[in-house]
């Protein structure tokens, strides 16, 4: 398959690729900057060596991503940027450097492994290099997206650039991107698979799609961001952000579509959003191994339709996704019931938890909790006493005679993303393990119910 990235085939060099509050970046300017980024990496002797991209701003991210790929560097995108994760990556990938903005450089000033992504304006001051950077069909560098593994160590899923381009075609088809320019505003970061496919690869692969460089957060930010782009607005977000946006009462300009992923979207929320903004809400079902693999219009349909080039296979009660572009069948940990063209999502697999768009293995979290010096035994538990539109949060149950909630939280903060920090730490004299050492959901529920009754919950 040939790569058709827009840099190679741009027939509309003046179309916009990235928008920001102050400025916009055209296809041509972007290509110029990304090529010079590659030249710079080469000049620093960092070509053909792996890179971690730590910036959130999408202009910087895209320049770093494209520049790295052009310079033959594999790109690594970790789940989070805690010292724990970065340390593991440095052990596994020799010659690794981290591409970051000036804040990142300041924070790591004596560490030469942290390399500045120059401002695009500075990169285009120098003339654009010609060959050998023109033929991108030969691009062989890969992109690896990481998820948290069950042992607490990040696990990488390596993908070729061409598989992302194919994925982007499926995205564009599903979102009915025609010949008219469409503009993306995304509330999700570019590092994770969902944000990467939707807000980075889609504009890179399709020359009439642009993206706003920021990651709007508050409802007022999202409205302002959408106001900045002219028409055919696509809002890429999560169910949590969508529910906050609905409740805030912010008036949004007309939308072409709202895209949701990372946590199950309820039909009720989808219907409310469709009625309120008169735009289809498309829910994406995906995984870090495959990217988007199925979609549904949640307001109207319960079943997800599978991407046309993928197949769902059920082997020994486990679901696998197969397809020409996948090296091997991908196990889906969630509980799915197959339908004629896809599946119904019945629930999450036991080990996978997802909070506000970030996923983590529960056993991985438990492994990290038990690394804390003060913790003799410990387990994370998802709170389930919340109302349906609230974000689920974690609690930790620990046996830690000398530890304090503060010392345990301080330890965890260096190892895991803040979203997964326990909301509450419950100290117990022992965990309800059975004779084989296992903790069943039932014994855990019993313990929690008992604690609630006796009101001895300490926080």
């Amino acid at each position: 398959m040939t790569c058709k990235l827009r840099l190679q085939t741009a027939t509309h060099p003046d179309n916009i690729m990235v928008l920001s509050v102050q400025d916009h970046v055209t296809n041509d300017v972007f290509a110029h900057g990304a090529k010079n980024m590659a030249v710079r990496l080469q000049a620093l002797g960092l070509n053909n060596k792996p890179k971690v991209i730590l910036v959130q701003n999408r202009t910087d991210f895209m320049v770093a991503l494209y520049g790295s790929l052009l310079a033959g560097c594999d790109v690594l995108l970790p789940n989070d940027d805690t010292p724990h994760t970065l340390q593991h990556l440095a052990q596994d990938y020799s010659g690794l450097s981290y591409l970051c903005n000036s804040d990142g450089i300041k924070a790591h000033k004596n560490n030469t492994d942290f390399v500045l992504i120059p401002n695009l304006q500075d990169l285009i001051c120098k003339p654009s290099p010609i060959s050998p950077f023109v033929n991108f069909a030969d691009l062989t560098a890969t992109i690896t997206v990481f998820t948290s593994g069950s042992t607490g160590k990040p696990v990488g899923h390596k993908k070729s650039v061409s598989s992302f381009i194919l994925g982007a075609d499926h995205w564009a088809q599903r979102l009915n991107i025609g010949n008219k320019p469409a503009h993306i505003v995304a509330t999700v970061p570019p590092q994770h698979m969902y944000g990467l496919e939707s807000s980075i690869m889609l504009p890179l692969a399709h020359e009439n799609i642009s993206v706003l460089d920021t990651c709007p957060f508050y409802p007022a930010d999202i409205r302002q961001a959408l106001d900045l782009v002219s028409e055919n607005r696509l809002l890429i977000t999560t169910p949590f952000h969508l529910s906050i946006l609905l409740k805030s009462g912010e008036d949004l300009p007309p939308l072409k579509a709202i895209v949701c992923a990372t946590a199950p979207l309820t039909q009720d929320l989808a219907v409310q959003a469709e009625n309120r903004w008169n735009a289809p809400v498309v829910e994406i079902f995906g995984s870090s191994e495959t990217g988007m693999l199925a979609t549904r219009r949640t307001a109207h349909k319960k079943a997800f339709s599978l991407r046309s080039d993928l197949t769902l296979e059920n082997k020994q009660k486990q679901n696998f996704i197969t397809g020409e572009t996948l090296d091997q069948p991908v196990l889906i940990a969630d509980v799915l019931t197959p339908t004629h063209d896809g599946f119904v999502f019945e629930g999450r697999g036991d080990d996978l938890i997802s909070i506000a768009g970030k996923r983590m293995s529960l056993s991985g979290l438990n492994a990290i909790l038990n690394m804390a010096d003060d913790v003799k035994d410990g387990i994370f538990h998802m709170q389930d006493n919340l109302t349906t539109d609230q974000c689920e949060r974690l609690v930790a149950l620990v046996v830690a005679p000398v530890g304090s909630a503060q010392s345990i939280k301080d330890f965890l903060r260096t190892k895991i993303d803040g979203i997964f920090l326990p909301r509450k730490i419950i100290f117990l004299s022992e965990l309800p393990r059975n004779s084989s050492g296992k903790i069943t959901k039932r014994s855990l529920d019993d313990t929690l119910a008992q604690l609630k009754r006796s009101q001895t919950v300490l926080s």
């Binding site: 409802p219 007022a220 930010d221 974000c391 919950v457």
Partner: protein
């Protein structure tokens, strides 16, 4: 003379502010506990404890939920380009003061 007058006026304003402060802080502490479903008593949040990361340990999800509760109750909208952002969420006292100054309902 003019300076002395200004000074006294400021002093009066500050005293008035101090008088209402504990009640309003209590109201905001209750809003935090209620809207974020925290299992602590509102009166245990010290006025100068940091709300995020250390201290109360709130995170970005809480920031969104809290901003919604604030805008619904007090009509004060938060946005990322707000110059006061660094101080708004610094502590209960600064949050209460900002809301008190900017509330519209």
């Amino acid at each position: 003379m003019r300076h002395i007058c200004q000074y006294f006026i400021l002093l009066v304003i500050r005293t008035l502010k101090l008088l209402h402060t504990p009640d309003f802080q209590k109201e905001i502490a209750e809003l935090i506990v209620e809207s974020l479903n925290l299992e602590i008593e509102a009166n245990t949040i010290a006025p100068d404890t940091p709300l995020f990361y250390e201290g109360l340990g709130l995170d970005s999800i809480d920031a969104l939920e809290l901003s919604l509760a604030i805008s619904q109750r007090y009509g004060m909208t938060l946005s990322s380009d707000d110059p006061d952002n660094e101080t708004i969420f610094a502590s209960l006292a600064s949050l209460a003061e900002t809301i008190h100054q900017r509330k519209t309902t």
